[in-house]
Structures are given as C-alpha cells and as structure tokens.
C-alpha cells in the first residue's frame, strides 16, 4: 500500500511538473520587453495584415515561443543529464559538465569566435563583415558555426576525458580525468581569449548562458534530441540502479558494464552537448534538478531521470521568465540567475546535510 502511495506521489509530481511547464510556456509567450497588454492588443485587436499585428505575430511566433520552449527543452536536457551523471558517478554532487563537455564547448566557441572575427576582417566589405560576431548573433553563418563548434567541442571534451581515463571501466579515473580536462581546457580558453580580446564580450555571454538567441531551429533540435535521450537513458536505468550497489555487484548481476557505461556516457554527452551548444553554460540546473526530485519522492533511476528532466525544464523556464521580467525591458543573463538560485540551493543543501550529520553523531 505504501509502495502504491510512493508511486502515486511520483505520478502527482510528474503531472504537476507537466502542468507547470505548460503554464510557464504560456507565461513565456506573454512576458517580454514589449509588454503583455500591448502585445495582446496588437494580436487580437489590430486589423489582419496591419504592421502592428504582423509585428506582434512575429514577436510571439518567431521570438518568444521558440525561446520559451527552447529554454524548457535545454533545462530538460540538463536535468536528465544531471540525474544520469549522478547515477553514473554515484555522486550526488556530480553535474552534467563533469566529463569535460562544458570546457570543451567553451574552448571551441572561443576558437570559433577568434577565427570568425579574423575572417570577417579579412573578407572586408562582404556580408560576413556586417555580422556582429557574437554568441547572440542570429546570422545563420555565425549561429551555425558557434553552435556547431560548441557541440563538437563538448563531444571532443568528453572524448578527451575518456581517452585520459583509458575507457569507461573506472569511475574514479573518469572523474579525475574530467577534472584534469576541465582545468587544461579552461586554461586553453583563457589563452585564446588573451590573444583575441575582441571575443571577450561574446565569450562572456556564452559562459554566462543565455536563452535569448534560441530560435526555432535550435528549439526543434533540442525537442527532437530530448525524447531520444530520455528513452535511451530510461531503457538503461536498471544499470544505474545496479551500479548503485557498486561496480562488482553490478557486474555480478550479469550487467555488461563496459558497453552500458559507454552508452550512458554517449547519452550524457549528447544531452549536455546539445543544450550547451544552444544556450551556453547554464549552471546548476543539472545539479539541482535531481536533488529537487529526491526531496519530494524517492524513486529508482528510471523515474528519477524522467522527473529530473521535467524539473530541469521547469527550472530553466522559470529562470528565463525571471531573467526577462526582473529588470524589464532590460534582461539578465539567465545563467547568472540559475547560478545564484542554484548556488543558494546548494548552500542550503550543505547546511541541511550538516544538521543531519550532527544529528546522527549526537
């Protein structure tokens, strides 16, 4: 009976997260620098075909809707990747960027910005020169180049970690290799920026994370990758449950650990790489989402990953709304908000763990 109650609680959480997601998407369409009232007025009162109505449709359809849905999808990918990373590394403080994907993406974006800035200068007078080289640029050449660079950088960062760890057999070696790759690629990124100071501002936007440049292409890409990653991760979740008993026990259960771990890392890299490529480095969503789920229900990894994914979507959508609303018509970088909120949550978590620990000692 209690098992059924736990299952009902998980279902209720999933349902409330889905409803929250829908409400947030609706709010996301309404909130922006143009204001809610003005936009509604233009959308429903202006004559069909009038410039006001066309502008309002443009704002809702081409800017706010893809951005809001994209923020949800990026958060969902990071939430899923966070739950996966914490299960894979058996560490509740593991986050999706642990395997070098974040620093790999950052280095690749820094290199791309430096190279594109140079290219624009050399072409001189061409359309490329007119493009402001920035991660918030919507010009297809720049967007494709930066997004592609971030994605491949993230994947290369993970591959470098795997090469250093000599495969996926040893969790601790993987973690250490991830830390080393993070430090080395971080230093390389700084070096690139020293030699390319023009890229600093654009790079800062990438490092802080932003959802403001997510268009339909990025949104649809993330919405397509998300179910693929979620289904694949869920189908392998029993491995994570088995791994929670230790590697030797998991192997004794007949689980082929090496290929399964490789598959889980591939899913982690794909989910993280896709999100990072579209939104930059958004902090703490991947770390906090699984913890938030655990604070409500205790579930197996399969359910945890799906619930953490929904929670990540809700978290990033909420942060995106706040970023747009707090100092409107200006906008805060969403990554700053997630870092402040996530950091506070982490501090609270440490405080709470400390209390529990002292309680146990007493």
């Amino acid at each position: 009976m209690e098992m059924a109650a736990a299952s009902r609680r998980a279902s209720a959480l999933a349902l409330s997260l889905l409803l929250s997601s829908m409400v947030l998407v609706l709010l996301g369409v309404c909130i922006g620098s143009t204001g809610f009232g003005n936009l509604l007025n233009d959308l429903f009162s202006a004559a069909p075909g009038s410039p006001e109505r066309a502008m309002a449709e443009q704002i809702v359809w081409n800017i706010r809707l893809p951005r809001t849905m994209g923020a949800w999808a990026a958060g969902a990918l990071l939430g899923l990747a966070g739950a996966l990373a914490q299960g894979l590394f058996r560490n509740p403080l593991a986050d999706p960027y642990l395997l070098g994907s974040a620093t790999g993406a950052a280095l690749a974006v820094a290199l791309a910005l430096a190279l594109m800035g140079g290219a624009a200068g050399m072409v001189g007078g061409s359309a490329v020169k007119a493009v402001v080289i920035s991660v918030v640029s919507t010009h297809w050449l720049v967007r494709f180049g930066l997004t592609g660079a971030a994605f491949f950088g993230a994947i290369l960062g993970v591959l470098l970690t795997l090469a250093l760890a000599r495969g996926v057999q040893h969790t601790l070696r993987l973690l250490l290799a991830g830390v080393v790759v993070g430090v080395v690629l971080g230093a390389a990124t700084s070096l690139v920026l020293v030699f390319s100071p023009d890229s600093l501002q654009a790079m800062q936007a990438f490092l802080l994370g932003s959802t403001s440049f997510v268009g339909w292409a990025a949104c649809l890409l993330m919405l397509a990758i998300l179910p693929m990653c979620a289904v694949a991760a869920w189908s392998l979740s029993r491995t994570l449950d088995g791994l929670s008993l230790g590697e030797a026990t998991a192997a004794s259960l007949g689980l082929p650990l090496v290929p399964l771990r490789a598959a889980l890392i591939a899913i982690l890299a794909l989910a993280t790489g896709t999100a990072v490529a579209q939104t930059g480095l958004i902090a703490f969503v991947g770390l906090a989402a699984p913890h938030l789920v655990r604070s409500v229900v205790r579930v197996t990894h399969g359910q945890l990953m799906l619930l953490a994914s929904l929670t990540g979507g809700v978290l990033l959508s909420s942060a995106d709304l706040l970023a747009r609303w707090l100092i409107a018509p200006q906008e805060l970088p969403v990554g700053v908000l997630t870092a402040v909120l996530g950091g506070s949550y982490l501090l609270w978590l440490m405080h709470r763990s400390g209390n529990t620990l002292s309680g146990r000692v007493i």
């Binding site: 004794s252 007949g254 689980l255 205790r298």
Partner: protein, 254 residues
C-alpha cells in the same frame, strides 16, 4: 558425497602488481555450506571474487561442472550470486527496490518485474526480517537493517550457488541467528552456500571449512572434525582455541 558445485583449480590472482592467490585449489560441494576462514590478508575475499568471475585469474574455475567462462553473463548471474563485503548502495533507493535488483538476471531488458519476481523479493525480505521497512530508503536504515536488505538482495536471486563475503557485518546476535537459520533452510533446499566469515564460532556452524593463509588453501575439511579444529588453531598461531560448549563448537581467543 555430494558432487562439486564450484571449484578453483591452480588459481593465481593479483591485485595490481601484488599477487594475492598463489595456485589455489579448492572445491565446494553442492547443497552444503562451506565457510572460508583465515587470518587477515589470506586471500579469502579475493578467492570469492574469482569464484564469482569478478576478478581475472589464471588457472580455472568451474561452476556446476562447466568452466565458468563458458557461461554467459546472464546465465552465470542466474546460477551464482555474490554478496560483497561492505557493499555500497544508493541511499535513495528503497529497501524493496534494492532487493528487486537481485532479480535483474531473471528479468527481460525492458520488462517490468513479474509476479514471480515480486514473490521472490517478498520471500527474501521476510526471511531477513526486512519486510516491515521495505518502503524506507536505505539511507534511513541502521547498519544492521541495511545489511539485512543487502542480504535479501542476494537471497532474492534464488541462485543455486550463493557466495557471501562477511555477511554478518553489523548484525546483532539475534539477526546472526536468523541468518544462520536462513542459510540452513537454503542448504536444505539444495543451495550451495560459500561464506567468508571472520566470526570463527559462526563459521564452525558450517558443514565444511576451507582454511586459507598467505594466498593458499592450507586445509579443507568438515567443521565437526577435530583435525579441522587443529588446523584452525595452527593457522591462527594457536591464539585461538576451539572448544565444545553445549554441543556446539566455538572458538575463543587465547
């Protein structure tokens, strides 16, 4: 005499560069409980891991008359269960979920647990007296309660061969007695049980005993034999004495 369930033949194994097992020969008979004892660092846990196929070795290991490496992972896990020493476990998973992990070898890749799986898990949790806290997460359990859940995980597999490394860690005397009763019941049903135990008095309750020292098997015999008791005293440098108290063999430190 019962046929051999598991055997190690001229087995050598190392941990990194350090050799741990040096040409070990040992056999464990079907439907009997064998305890492995010996001083610290004798290679007892390593032998158990080798028998479970969890550690590479030279020599050969056979399971129910067939080389261990001829079994698929799944077949091996269905036939043989290993319970590790100080087994880690996710604090978040509930006791029932942990016990259900023992059924992984019997489940299809994406198939939900069957009625048979649920029945096996309930039997195992009841046998270890963990049924009453089945919904609680492992992180909320005491050391002894946690050990009983991990034991239930091993029992839930209902394998023919059960290898247990220090299964009595954290268990109080009444639950040690329950464990003993569970093992006896399993053996009566034909299960082969091999356990590494440092509580020598508990180990003397087994049917057979394998004594190890310095990476080698120094003695194999029945627990009730006087020669076994003498071998036990010898391997511990005569710092234990095996005595009969109330029709039971016990080992006391000297």
């Amino acid at each position: 005499m019962q046929p051999v369930a598991v055997s190690a033949n001229s087995v050598n194994a190392s941990m990194g560069q350090t050799p741990i097992l040096l040409g070990v020969n040992a056999s464990f008979r079907k439907g009997r409980w064998t305890s492995i004892v010996g001083p610290n660092g004798a290679g007892k846990s390593t032998l158990l891991k080798v028998l479970a196929g969890l550690l590479p070795c030279t020599g050969s290991v056979s399971l129910l008359g067939k080389p261990l490496h001829d079994y698929s992972r799944r077949e091996r896990a269905q036939t043989l269960t290993w319970l590790g020493q100080n087994e880690a476990a996710a604090e978040d998973l509930g006791a029932y979920d942990i016990a259900m992990l023992g059924r992984i070898p019997h489940q299809g890749w994406l198939a939900p647990p069957s009625a048979l799986d649920h029945a096996a898990v309930e039997r195992a949790l009841r046998a270890t007296h963990a049924w009453e806290y089945r919904t609680r997460p492992l992180g909320a359990l005491s050391g002894g309660e946690r050990q009983r859940v991990l034991l239930a995980r091993a029992l839930a597999s209902e394998a023919q061969v059960l290898l247990m490394d220090e299964p009595l860690v954290n268990l109080d005397p009444p639950h040690q007695a329950d464990w003993l009763a569970s093992v006896r019941a399993l053996v009566l049903k034909g299960t082969t049980v091999v356990s590494v135990l440092h509580e020598i008095s508990m180990a003397l309750n087994a049917d057979d005993m394998v004594i190890m020292a310095g990476g080698r098997v120094t003695y194999e015999g029945r627990c009730i034999d006087t020669a076994t008791h003498r071998a036990l005293e010898t391997v511990f440098d005569h710092r234990v004495a095996v005595l009969s108290v109330a029709d039971q063999w016990i080992a006391i430190p000297k």
